[in-house]
Structures are given as structure tokens and as C-alpha cells.
């Protein structure tokens, strides 16, 4: 229980720190929302009037305080650019990004772990060099490029999906999933390759250890030892790595969403930064921070399940 309380406290502190940093960074870059909205039509009088209307004439800390107070009472504010409540504005985008991230993560988890074990078992085999080279290639190709290739192949040529016609998540969920699958694949490929390589090396490393030799010398077969003992030990760093992946998928998704014209958080975040639309940026930043911390927490909990030595105060 103490552990959970500590975690939740950490989560809150992280989010507040992140939100303040984002706020502060925002006020340091030149150009404010009013200037950007008025663009080349700006005159000093109109600018002053608009800044007043948007509340941008208040000092930084006052604005941050107002935002924070709103946040804790569930009011994310009104978007400066869209004049819409931030919650209403980002909710559909959060869903899209969440689905894309989860889809991509499932692909990674489901494919990478068996592939990694298989790759370790086959190490030293005839095609090992080819496999490693292919793996390196997969790691090196950036998702946006894979995305363009996949679009060219499956949309332009094969017409399996229509690029630019993303089905409404609510009305055609399966259609949307199908569309997102291509983006999820391009996002997952380098991460799968990295996970495979990592798992392969940790498994191979574990296989050299004394307890493995002992287990085998006692008559256990290699496969049994691998699944019963080695994998458990080898998985701990991989789970931690997958947690980071969870965070990085969201970051990578910002680019991939644009390649596939998927209306997720990415595009909105980038545009809101350009527009200095701080209520939207703050909300998205906090969601991302929450996501990252949550992934870390879940990874810790899973690792504690796998490896009892990691359990805090587990002995008492």
C-alpha cells in the first residue's frame, strides 16, 4: 500500500513539474497566441485588445496558477485557437492515439518475445548472420519511411485502404483499426527489431550462467530450462525496455499519424505549439507525462511478478 501511495504521489509531482516546465518553456519562445492569430493583420491596438481578451496580459505565474486550479477541478480550459473546451477537443484524438499506441504495442509484445527466443535458440545457425543483418535493417529504417512505403504498396498500388479517408472511430471501429494497422506496423517494426535483439542477447547471456549448466547436468532438457528458468531472468530488462517503448510509440506516433493522415493527438499537439495555444498543449503534455509514468509503474509491477527479488519489502 505504501508503495502504491508513493507511486501515485510521484505521478502527481511529475505531472505538476512537467506541466510547469511546459508552461515556462512556452512563455520563453517568442510570439504569443494573439500575435499568431492576427498574423500580418496585427496592429498594436488590435494586439493589445486580443491579448486582454485572451488573458495573455497576466503574468506567467498567475496564468499558470489559474490553469493548475482549473486542472484540479477538472476544467482544462478553452482552446485559444478553436474556442472549444479543451476536453471536448482532445477527447476523440486521445482515443485515436490510444488505439494506435495500443495496437502498435500489442504487435511489438506479441511478435517480439517469441521472435527473440526463437532467434536466441537459433544463434550460431546457418542463417544467423542474415537474420542479424535483417534485424539491423529493421532497426535502422525510420517509421515515417516505412509508412510511406506501406502506403505506396497497400494504398496507392493494392488499394487495401484509402489513404486520407480515416473512418470515424465511433461509426466504423473495425475499419479504423484496419486503417491504423498499417501505421501501427510501421511504428512497430524498429521496436520489434530492438526488442528481439535485446531478448536474444539477454537469453544468450543467461544460458552461459552456472545455474543453467547445473540444471542441464541434472537432466533437464534445454528447451525446458529455457522456458522455465532462463526466460524469467531474461525478461526483466526486456519488460523495462517495453515500458520505454510504450512512451516512445506515442512520440513516434506524432510523425506516423501525419504520414497516414490519422487525426490523432500528434497533429493537434504540433499545431497547438505553433499557435501557442497553451491550454491544449498543457493538457496533451500532462496526458503524455501520465502515460509515461504509468508505463513505468506497470513495468515495475510486472517485473516484481517475474522476479521476487525486486519486490520491495517482500521478505517481511
Amino acid at each position: 500500500m505504501k508503495y502504491a501511495a508513493k507511486r501515485i504521489a510521484m505521478l502527481l509531482v511529475t505531472m505538476v513539474i512537467v506541466s510547469f516546465l511546459a508552461f515556462a518553456a512556452f512563455s520563453m519562445i517568442s510570439g504569443n497566441a494573439a500575435e499568431i492569430m492576427l498574423g500580418t493583420q496585427a496592429t498594436p491596438e488590435r494586439l493589445a485588445a486580443l491579448e486582454k481578451e485572451l488573458g495573455l496580459d497576466r503574468p506567467l505565474l498567475v496564468r499558470y496558477g489559474a490553469w493548475l486550479a482549473g486542472f484540479f477541478t477538472g476544467d482544462l480550459g478553452i482552446s485559444i485557437s478553436y474556442k472549444q473546451p479543451v476536453g471536448e477537443l482532445i477527447a476523440p484524438k486521445v482515443l485515436v492515439t490510444l488505439c494506435l499506441s495500443v495496437l502498435s504495442f500489442l504487435l511489438i509484445a506479441v511478435l517480439a518475445i517469441p521472435l527473440g527466443v526463437w532467434s536466441a535458440r537459433r544463434s550460431g545457425g546457418r542463417l544467423d548472420g542474415v537474420r542479424t543483418a535483417f534485424n539491423q535493417l529493421c532497426m535502422a529504417v525510420p517509421p515515417f519511411f516505412t509508412g510511406i512505403l506501406l502506403t505506396w504498396l497497400f494504398s496507392t498500388t493494392l488499394k487495401w485502404f484509402t489513404h486520407g479517408r480515416f473512418p470515424e472511430l465511433g461509426t466504423d471501429f473495425l475499419g479504423a483499426l484496419k486503417y491504423m494497422l498499417f501505421a501501427a506496423v510501421s511504428l512497430a517494426i524498429p521496436r520489434i527489431a530492438m526488442t528481439v535483439r535485446m531478448l536474444r542477447s539477454t537469453v544468450l547471456e543467461e544460458m552461459q550462467k552456472d545455474y543453467v549448466r547445473t540444471a542441464i547436468s541434472r537432466g533437464n532438457d534445454r528447451a525446458g530450462v529455457l522456458y522455465r528458468h532462463v526466460l524469467k531472468n531474461a525478461l526483466v530488462p526486456v519488460v523495462t525496455f517495453l515500458a520505454q517503448t510504450m512512451a516512445e510509440i506515442v512520440a513516434g506516433g506524432i510523425v506516423v499519424e501525419q504520414v497516414f493522415a490519422i487525426p490523432g493527438l500528434g497533429r493537434l499537439l504540433v499545431a497547438s505549439i505553433s499557435n501557442r495555444d497553451y491550454p491544449v498543449v498543457q493538457a496533451i503534455v500532462v496526458i503524455l507525462a501520465f502515460w509515461v509514468v504509468l508505463a513505468g509503474t506497470v513495468a515495475d509491477l510486472i517485473n516484481q511478478r517475474i522476479d521476487p527479488r525486486l519486490r520491495l519489502g517482500g521478505g517481511s
Binding site: 517568442s30 500580418t40 478553436y82 476523440p92 484524438k93 502506403t151
Partner: protein, 517 residues
């Protein structure tokens, strides 16, 4: 044990969040959307609708009196109308008004409203709506009026149900041009997010950074739109936009580059218009060495406009020589385009005269989100090398450009395109008068100011036009900026569609677009 439980709980709640998260969307979004799922699976929909690709976010208020971005106006042109509206040939025709009369002292405009003009919410346009709309734009209680030119308005009065009289403080030839300002229903406060106007299309919905949906307005007073529905799909990424054109998701897309057009394939026709921008290397006239007219002239001789157009734009584009573009017709002075012919020797001797025999170093600030301007700047850098000027490109984000270059005037030179907010020469030329708040190049020329004052007090159209032309000549002769071109506007239109008309302002009129029978 507790920890195991906790772990399990967390896992389950995470999974639950994920599943319900995705699932929720299906129930939650449905009523909001309301429409049928517009045939998202079949490519060749028989439906009478098009999808227009736009590369700009439209991330601002949709209230036509508050929206400033060219991209927003381009879309909302289809939704709103003023008492008058512009035509593709650059004229003004009555819209919400049926006719107007100008008093003998030229200070009172009396508009008679057209009978039976309806707002998209079903209400009939009444004189009070017009009074409300005009007064809203002229209101100075917040400091400055929403439409600056409305500061001349003294009184707006509904003389009866269908007549509105507007009195201005001094006669003006251009006042009527500002009457294109949208007429909105009085007492409606949702314009920011759910705009209501009188145009041929009505607003249906907007999804931020995703799309804007318009539908044909059945009770439109004029020639109705041919299309039943228009979806603007926002795709800012250029590669992604191309792929959507090729996949069949997008039917019409303006402002393409020549390279993009070359990749289009056989499914599209390409229409060529002009962007209606004055693209130039704008020089900070207050900054050394550009405070010297000889240096500015030298740069004008040093660059080769046609070279820029050929190299960076595959030959699409119209060379210009002053702050005016061809679509303006009567104000455009074509000869000025050839005032400075590409002449390296002359440029060098002018530089030597000005005290820079070995050239100098300069910075060209370019907003990073406008590829055509970046491409232009790159060609300019090469051309300037020939006369010994070493230019370096500095890319800045648009917001930074607005605040540092445009508002702050902290720059040496910048390559951008300047547009006109309405169809008057004043919209392009007033900014270079010494006291103009938006004179970001710090141009100060007494003759120019005098000509502008004279033009403003002239009530004879021919005389005023002549004065504006003299102002353009003044800008050219003094090489206020290194003028380059009006960019070509290349529009991809799916075969089977027709009726695209180009306007002298930055709009895309979809009411005339139709499928060929």
C-alpha cells in the same frame, strides 16, 4: 499478497481503460456525427460531394469577423456573404443587399436588402442583422475596430425593415469594397465554433486538425451550389497530401507545387491561377546596408526573377516589379516587372558606388513552413553570390517570424508573400506609408506618403487609380524591396469535375464546382 492484488488491479484497470476507451468512442461519437458514414469504404461514391484537401490547419475562430488566416477565409468564403460580394473578375456585386445608393455628398450609403435572403438557421435577414454586423466590426470599445477601415463609419441606421443607411466621416472610393464584410444574425453567439451565414454552403462540423464539413444550403437566394456536400480534409504534411490525392480520398487540392503536380498521374486535371501574393525579398530599409537606395537597386539588378521561377517553380509564376499583382487588373503596371533587368555588372558598379566594392554579408530570414519561399531564398542566395553578396538563410518558425520580423522588425531581409485582405489597392500599398503600423520594412518616403494622402482624398476613380500606379512606381524606382513574382496557384481537380473559378483574392469558390454530366 496485497501487492499481487494491487498489481492485478492496476493491470485490469489499464486494460479496462484501453478497451472501454476504444469502445466508448463508438457510442460516444455516433450521435455527434449524425450523418451516415459517407461511404467510407467505396471509392467511387455516386454521392454528389467532393473532398477538398487543404494544407492549412484552420485553427482559429470561425467567426468571419475575427478570423484572420487566409486559409480560413478561403474556406469560409463559401459560408458567408456581405452586403456586396466579389466576383472572380474582380468586380463587386450586390449580395445580401439588392442595390445601394450613394448620397450626393458621398457620405451616406443606403443599402436596400434583397428580399427573402435567409440565414442558415432559417431566419430571414433583417435590417437589424445588418446593423448588428456592421456595428460589431466598427465597435471601438475594445481599442481598435475589427475591420480597421470601419473607423470611418459614423452611424449605421435601419431606416425600415429592408433599408440600412451607413454614414461615413469622409468620402471614400473604397468604402464599398469593405461592404463584403459578412452579415451575421444578431443575437447569435456561437459564431466561433458553429458559424451561421447566408452563403451557398452551410457549416456542419469541424474536427480540429482533421476536417471541416459544409453542406449545400437549400434556401440560398442566388444560384444554388451544385454539390450537396463538401468535406475539407486537413493534411499539412505534403507527402501525405500527395498520397491522399493518389488514393482517391481527395478530389480537389489548391496551392500545389510544380513538383507535386508532376506526380499527380492521369486522374487529375491541373488548373493554373495565381496565388495573389506579392512575393519579394523584403528589405529592412532602416537597417544597414539596405538604408542605401543604391544597395537595394543593386540587389534588384542582381537577381533574375525568371531564373527563380524557372529553377524553383518549373516556370510557373508571374514576375512582378512592385507591390501589386496581375489579378488586380487596373492597378497592375506590367512595365514595372522589367524595370530592373538582370544585370550583374550594373549591380556590381552600384554596390561599388555605395561603398561595397567587395559585396557584404546578409541574412535572409524565411518562415520555415512555406516551402516556396524557402526554395526562392535558396535560388536568391546563389544569384547574389555572383555580385559578391554572401547571403545566409535563417529559417524561423512562423510564430517567431510574426513576432520578430513582422511585429518586431528585427531582420535584415526576408522572403515572404504579402497578400491583400480585400480587393483595394490600398490593402497592398498603405502599409508602406511611413506611419503605417504594419510597415515592417520601415519604408520612409515623403513622396510616397504624399501620393497616398492624395489618393485618399481623390473621389475620381481614374485619378485615384493613376495615383496608386505612381505609388507603385515609387516603390519600384526606390527598390523598396526586391520584387520577385506572384506565385502560380496550381489546383488539382479530379477528372469529371469542372467549374473552378479563380478570384483576385485568396478564396476557393465551390458553389460553381460540379460533376460533368
Amino acid at each position: 499478497m496485497k501487492k499481487k492484488l494491487l498489481a492485478l488491479l492496476l493491470l485490469v484497470s489499464l486494460l479496462g481503460a484501453v478497451l472501454t476507451g476504444c469502445g466508448d468512442g463508438s457510442t460516444e461519437k455516433a450521435p455527434e456525427d449524425g450523418q451516415e458514414p459517407n461511404g467510407s469504404t467505396s471509392v467511387s461514391t455516386p454521392a454528389n460531394e467532393v473532398t477538398v484537401g487543404i494544407a492549412q490547419g484552420l485553427d482559429e475562430s470561425l467567426d468571419p469577423h475575427k478570423a484572420v488566416a487566409a486559409g480560413t477565409k478561403e474556406v469560409m468564403f463559401n459560408v458567408f456573404e456581405g452586403l456586396m460580394k466579389p466576383t472572380s473578375t474582380g468586380d463587386l456585386i450586390p449580395a445580401v443587399a439588392e442595390k445601394y445608393e450613394v448620397s450626393d455628398d458621398r457620405m451616406t450609403y443606403t443599402f436596400t436588402l434583397r428580399e427573402g435572403v435567409k440565414f442558415h438557421n432559417g431566419d430571414t435577414v433583417a435590417a437589424e442583422d445588418v446593423v448588428y454586423s456592421i456595428e460589431r466590426c466598427a465597435d471601438t470599445s475594445e481599442g481598435a475596430p475589427l475591420v480597421e477601415a470601419f473607423s470611418v463609419i459614423q452611424k449605421v441606421e435601419a431606416t425600415d425593415d429592408r433599408t440600412v443607411a451607413i454614414t461615413i466621416s469622409e468620402p471614400s472610393n473604397e468604402f464599398i469594397s469593405y461592404m463584403t464584410t459578412a452579415i451575421l444574425p444578431a443575437d447569435y453567439d456561437q459564431q466561433d465554433t458553429a458559424p451561421v451565414g447566408t452563403g451557398p454552403f452551410k457549416f456542419v462540423s469541424r474536427a480540429a486538425q482533421d476536417n471541416i464539413v459544409l453542406e449545400k444550403f437549400g434556401e440560398y437566394w442566388g444560384t444554388p451550389a451544385y454539390l450537396d456536400k463538401v468535406t475539407y480534409k486537413i493534411i499539412e504534411n505534403a507527402d501525405s497530401l500527395m498520397m491522399s490525392l493518389q488514393s482517391g480520398a481527395i478530389d480537389i487540392c489548391s496551392h500545389l507545387t510544380s513538383t507535386q503536380v508532376a506526380q499527380l498521374g492521369d486522374d487529375f486535371n491541373v488548373e493554373e491561377g495565381t496565388m495573389n501574393l506579392v512575393q519579394a525579398m523584403y528589405l529592412n530599409n532602416a537597417e544597414k546596408p539596405f538604408d542605401d537606395v543604391r544597395v537595394r537597386q543593386a540587389l534588384s539588378y542582381a537577381i533574375d526573377k525568371q531564373g527563380v521561377i524557372d529553377l524553383a517553380f518549373d516556370g510557373y509564376g508571374s514576375p512582378i516589379g512592385s507591390s501589386m499583382y496581375p489579378a488586380f487588373g487596373k492597378y497592375f503596371v506590367e512595365e514595372l516587372s522589367n524595370y530592373y533587368t538582370h544585370d550583374v555588372e550594373k549591380a556590381k558598379s552600384l554596390l561599388a558606388e555605395a561603398g561595397y566594392p567587395d559585396g557584404f554579408e546578409m541574412t535572409i530570414t524565411v518562415p520555415s513552413n512555406y516551402q516556396p519561399h524557402i526554395d526562392t531564398a535558396q535560388v536568391l542566395v546563389e544569384q547574389l553570390k555572383e555580385v559578391g553578396v554572401t547571403a545566409k538563410i535563417e529559417l524561423v518558425e512562423w510564430g517567431t517570424w510574426l513576432s520578430d520580423v513582422y511585429a518586431g522588425r528585427q531582420f535584415q531581409s526576408t522572403v515572404v508573400g504579402v497578400d491583400a485582405s480585400n480587393m483595394t489597392a490600398r490593402a497592398l500599398l498603405e502599409r508602406f506609408t511611413s506611419t503605417a503600423g504594419n510597415n515592417f520594412i520601415n519604408y520612409k518616403n515623403a513622396d510616397y506618403d504624399a501620393l497616398f494622402a492624395q489618393a485618399q482624398s481623390s473621389y475620381d476613380d481614374a485619378e485615384q487609380t493613376a495615383l496608386y500606379k505612381q505609388m507603385e512606381e515609387n516603390l519600384t524606382a526606390n527598390a523598396a524591396n526586391v520584387y520577385i513574382q506572384d506565385l502560380a496557384d496550381l489546383v488539382a481537380v479530379r477528372k469529371g469535375l469542372e467549374g473552378i473559378n479563380f478570384y483576385p483574392i485568396y478564396v476557393l469558390d465551390l458553389s460553381t464546382v460540379r460533376y460533368v454530366q
